[in-house]
Amino acid sequence: MAFSSFSEFLAMGGYGFYVWLAYGVSLLSVIFLIIDTVYRRKKIFNQVEQRLQREQRIKAAENKKGTL
């Protein structure tokens, strides 16, 4: 262990602000990347599903027309 206490660990020998700023912003940008990636997949699935439903509705409407 390079540190003897947790508060010493947080202080990072006086460089705490810079070290945790670097780590914090890096973590945030990676989390942003993950959210964007997962969100894109969901969006594609939703779009395809909506298109399929619309196609079904159109088909159903056409069938109705045919019976009149």
Binding site: M12, Y18, A22, L33, I34, F45
Partner: protein, 253 residues
């Protein structure tokens, strides 16, 4: 001889293979991340000159290295895409660019947060820093160009060409610390000599490099699959995939 490779030019096969590989990359990334972070932040000894501020190295160097590795991957894929007209290679370029951009941003930002206490400035217009900033702009340019076309065949080709043009920046970044007098220090690991770093500091760094590499692999596969789904959304196999997932959600609800 290479016939076994042919089916993987089909997007459906590539989609399935990527899905199988993803968990391995993710597990590797998470384990090495936890080990590397605990070791680097808490157990590695403080630097005799820089004190504990040197601990920024454990994200700064892996991010910078993998930002360049991501670009090399994209360049090879772009070459394949342009020469052999393989659409999956274009998708690799588009899938990897945002990850490379985030890694480059991390390298630049952590460098600034390290430079302030050590050099006394957040930013200097020095060869290494400037060429790295250009890398970020090239990444953003590739992403913007790819998104600028609604015709994805055209978009893929344009992005591939820009990727190949931007390759010129890679050797400039790597050798910038040799060719010019810069504030940035020279290479510590990527040189022919022995690494000029004590093993107690070096091992966690190598572990973190593996972590960033594995995460890059995981994320590129994930985004590569997104690209395939997006481009092939009218194909029957994607439609049946979507129908399967929606019935699963309905069952759960």
């Amino acid at each position: 001889m290479w016939k076994w490779l042919h089916p993987y030019a089909k997007s459906e096969k590539s989609y399935a293979l990527s899905g199988k590989l993803m968990p391995w990359f993710l597990v590797t990334a998470v384990i090495t991340f936890v080990v590397g972070m605990v070791w680097g932040l808490a157990f590695a000894p403080a630097d005799y000159q820089q004190g504990d501020s040197f601990r920024i190295i454990y994200i700064h160097v892996p991010a910078a290295m993998m930002a360049m590795a991501a670009y090399s991957t994209m360049a090879i894929a772009a070459f394949i895409a342009l020469v052999w007209q393989i659409r999956l290679a274009e998708m690799t370029v588009a899938a990897t660019a945002p990850i490379g951009a985030v890694y480059t941003f991390i390298a630049l930002f952590t460098g600034a947060a390290w430079g302030k206490p050590m050099w006394g400035a957040w930013w200097v217009w020095d060869a290494r820093l400037t060429s790295e900033l250009i890398l970020l702009f090239v990444y953003l340019g590739i992403i913007a160009l790819y998104n600028a076309f609604s015709d994805k065949v055209l978009a893929g080709r344009a992005a591939s060409i820009l990727t190949l043009v931007g390759v010129i920046n890679l050797p400039i970044i790597h050798f910038s610390v040799v060719w010019w007098n810069t504030l940035h220090q020279g290479a510590t690991i990527t040189k022919f000599d022995k690494p000029s770093m004590d093993t107690a500091m070096l091992y966690p760094l190598l572990i973190m490099i593996i972590s960033f590499a594995a995460f890059l692999g995981f994320m590129s596969l994930y985004r590569f699959r997104n690209e395939i789904l997006h481009r092939e959304s009218h194909r029957p196999w994607v439609i049946s995939l979507v129908q399967q997932s929606s019935t699963q959600i309905n069952k759960r609800g």
